[in-house]
Symmetry: C5
Subunit: 311 residues, 5 copies
């Protein structure tokens, strides 16, 4: 890791590197945003709550899903009572619930699409659902703690260029407003044979670094956590975070997260369903265990102990 | 229903929750708009009068349709003499007739398409027919009571991303101007097999909540009114309202509305043809019966009595 | 016809209803524009001169067309010497010839397409050829009497949503600038089997009313003039005007126009080729006969007498 | 030719008709621009130098092309030493060479496409390569004599509406900035069977007049120069100019130009390859001969004498 | 080479020709930008570091690639310790690393696409990933030495017109801000049979000159370095630079570069993988050798000696 002394002046005591295009007047806010979600560790524990558009109600209602999850407020209650770096969801939900949970750091997920149209029918395309002015209004009028934005890019879609263009511009503009930016980087489309190939994941992670993303959310490579290392390197100063572990048991899920960090070089975690499909009590417990691993370098065992004691 | 004490400051005595992105200066207007259409009940009785584009003249002229309905002014006369929460129609009709009926609360239906092109030929797409500046001019120069906007999203269309993006931005902007927003949420396109599947309807209701909609207009699930409950939960603080009941008799139609509310958890009704295809006298009577159910928790029998006495 | 007393304040002595979105400062101009083209009758005699793009030179040169028509100035000479409510043509011709004929009321036809690509090859799309700023410059710098705009919508085209959106916004903006708006409403595209079906024509007339059009130009229904009545009703306060009668003789053409008004409830006429394909003298005579029918309720016989005496 | 006395005030002593949308403050500049390229004759001698994008290097290098033409500066040297009404080329070349040849009147060719994709593969589309602000910067900062803009429309392409819209707006805006506008009007696309049919050419010439073009560049009709007369009439006050004569010898080429004017009613010429594919000396001589025909009504023989004496 | 005395005033002592559209106030900055990357020689040594999007991780990780290249910072370290005219990469990487390497002249590569979708599946399209405002923020707030922008055009793609339009406007706007512009000019698409045909390369080089590019990056023609001469001529005052030599050995690569300049008339080099896939030490040595050839007219032998002594 190369760190020149000349960069110190912009990192100040916070240790946060401010991107070069952040206006002087917004540097302090950027450092605050970045520090809030990383707690000075350089790592991010992101709770993903954007699936109400992405997966409609399949992630919130049905077999194996606790009934607490049928109410959108569940996401906010977890983030409020639990321990999360930030809650990522759409602007509409933040507008409706945020002022009741003003302590939660929010990341506005800018774009989304449903999964009704299968990839085999049409190449995926997802566009921004609000403007940055709308985001700023949440911050300004709701006094909410809006720390950043999120954007999904479907790499390999025939509409890729449209998403790359919108993402790149939103990231630069978010930075200019003192916010961080996280990209959900998913290879998808008929040109993509292996969505979870480690080399491809490394490629899109590096591409997101080129777009200025502070963090890149990717899937776990088929080859396992160690294979993620290529992506962690390719992303450089952009941190790689990995999506949650499907239908794993809690301990296995914590191990999964631990491995992405300690074997794969990930700089945090990004978990949705493995948190919110549980009861409020259990979901809160999981966020505490995850945050212990991400922010405090806890072992899997000690994190799991924290989880069980929180139930 | 979780209500934190800290939210009280923005609900004031009205009991209305103001979305976080509403500017301070527009909160009072938002509360007024919301209160006007809900009458302090949290429920909405919306009279839908946007079919002159959606269905051309098929809903206004022909067998079984009263000849009063052939004149567009019929919509305004009903809203004026009857009892509606708001009349939803396009800006052009409001511009032409609104000043003669200044007592009616109007909701400007922003987008529309005709049904000439069948879904089998081309995926549905509907775009905004006017800007919010145009809406504001109706309010400002016509002194009209413009309380909100409406927008139709065809979930599952290959053009879904375009409508999601336009809807999300319009909703945030309408809130910023002190107006409410209602989404007409219809699954449609070749990827959609069962437009009225309860789980799918719940999904699009939740998606609209994520976009910030105050109310979501959906179809009655095939599975019946009780199955609507999933959608009512998924929409959270956004209220679900259900479209009218096709060719039902009046009492059956009132029962349908009652059931969506009391069995399905709907927060109101959204009715078009079952109102305006009747004579002015009968249409007015139906609005009174519907409003009794929606706003006054009337039973089906007492609402039907109100209807018959109004004839 | 329902007219509330409260509408009087905006109709003043003119009897013109001003759309609600017209700014106070532009109401007088709107009344002037509307009164100019209707001469206080509520009816419009529009001379259509936009075919140089729509039909290229086929309408201006060839067998059965007087050689006067080969010069674009012919359109302006007719409007100047004849008796027309307004001359509708593209901004370029008005810019070139208008200052030589400053007495003519002009309606700027905003969009146009050629007929080179057959509908069977590609769905029709027509986009605006100039902005409203460009229209205003004609009024401001040329001191021209620009009373309105026109726009063609191909209902049933797969590009319908694009034209609906552009039309709706231009109409609202034209009103905001004190001008009227006329929509040329043509069903066309592979989804349209019967372009001149009376029920379909009524549908698009009602749709244009929803967009705010002051007048809607439609084709004569296959079923005859009386069948137009459905459209006249559906359009409400928007007036229906009917395109010219193809290759009819003069008296038959005047009868056609008379019938659309007196049998079909049309509020005027919109004629192109039946005027300008004649010699200047004859064209002028036809405009006088048409205006007598439209504005003075002349009988076909007396209008035809006026025509023959004008030759 | 109808000329009303009231038009005199805007033609002043120059005899130039100013389009109605030209602001008062820019009328003098428009008259200057128009007079510069027409030299008070109403005719235009345009040297077309836009083929480096349209035809890539095929027009500048190869058998039968003088090696002088391999250097882009050749275009400027010809215009500087020769006798041209204006040199039409892209903004990039004018930015690079214009300040070395400040005496040349320039017409900025706004749009262009290459000919790599054959029409059989995709319908032609050409979009503006710079904005009018960019054009004005050439005038303002380079002190260049920018007299107008040019735009190519492929009539009959499925993308026709996009080009019509961009052209119409650019023409009005160019006029508003005191510049003239020339349209390159080419029928092309799979719907076009006979690109050089005289009736079709007349049609697109008339369409360009409707867009406000000062001059329209068309191909020579298959039927010969006399057949061009239909187009000259259809274009009205917009002047028709004809593209160069392919691989003709010099005298035949001059005869071709003479005929388009004296038989076909053209108002000038628009020549590219027949000028710049020659050596500088010969190219300069050709421009002098052409300008003699266009501006001085020279006979073919006297123009050819001028050519041979200039060698 | 034709140089008129009147151009001297804008070349001043620098010898740099300022494009005509550069505002007076930005001329000094343009001269600085141009001089920085050319060092007064008219030639450019560009280090291309934009492949993290274009080729994902294939260029940075794998067999034959030094592990130094797996870290994006490698690009900056090379540019910092080596000898490059400028480092071209995306705005995100410059934002993240630039302030640690403030001595490096940066060229912001504006657009990019991945290579996941094969050309056989969809015609290539690449759109700008940030705005010029974003570029200026890097310069203004990061105090970075941003000397220009880069843009890739896929000539012959069915989306060519979109890229031509965006490139042309960005080039003019970059010049207006005192920056240079480099176009990556690649023929690609199903209409392109021979991407490296010398005549085609000359064509696109000339087209880029027409767009105002200061330099054009092309591939080496199949016919060899001498065949590049046609492109060098066609580009006129725009300099042609050639992409690196694939998998050549170092000396062969230097010979390749030398030949493009001395046989092909290139005005510099544009090298990516042949630099950054090496270890830092070797990469730095290669930049020194390349810069010696480009800027100091070094022979291949002396450049290679410089390379070996730098190891």
């Amino acid at each position: 890791m190369n760190t020149h002394t000349r960069s110190i002046h912009r990192r100040q005591s916070s240790g946060v590197r401010v991107p070069a295009h952040v206006p002087i007047a917004e540097r302090r806010r950027y450092i605050y945003s970045y520090s809030t979600v990383t707690r000075g560790t350089g790592r991010l524990m992101l709770m993903a709550g954007d699936q109400k558009i992405e997966h409609l109600n399949a992630d919130f209602y049905g077999k194996g899903i606790h009934q607490d999850d049928s109410n959108p407020e569940h996401l906010f209650q977890i983030a409020h009572k639990g321990d999360v770096g930030c809650l990522a969801t759409q602007h509409g939900l933040i507008a409706a619930y945020g002022m009741d949970y003003p302590d939660v750091p929010y990341l506005v997920k800018m774009n989304a699409k449903t999964d009704i149209v299968p990839t085999a029918q049409a190449e995926p395309l997802s566009k921004a659902l609000c403007s940055l002015d709308d985001v700023i209004r949440l911050r300004q009028y709701g006094k909410l703690n809006i720390v950043g934005i999120g954007y999904t890019i479907y790499f390999g879609s025939e509409h890729e260029s449209e998403m790359l263009a919108e993402a790149g511009k939103l990231i630069a503009a978010a930075h200019a407003l003192g916010m961080i930016a996280v990209v959900w980087a998913y290879p998808r489309g008929k040109a993509v044979q292996q969505e979870k190939d480690a080399h491809l994941i490394a490629g899109v992670a590096g591409a997101c670094a080129s777009l200025g993303a502070d963090f890149v959310k990717v899937n776990m490579p088929t080859e396992g956590a160690a294979a993620l290392h290529e992506a962690s390197q390719a992303a450089g100063r952009s941190g790689v975070v990995v999506s949650g572990g499907g239908t794993l048991g809690t301990k296995e899920f914590l191990q999964h997260t631990y491995d992405t960090i300690h074997l794969g070089g990930a700089r945090g975690s990004a978990t949705g369903r493995n948190i919110h499909q549980k009861s409020l009590t259990e979901a809160v417990a999981i966020t505490k265990a995850l945050s212990a691993i991400v922010y405090k370098n806890a072992s899997v065992d000690s994190a799991h102990d924290l989880y069980t004691h929180s139930l």
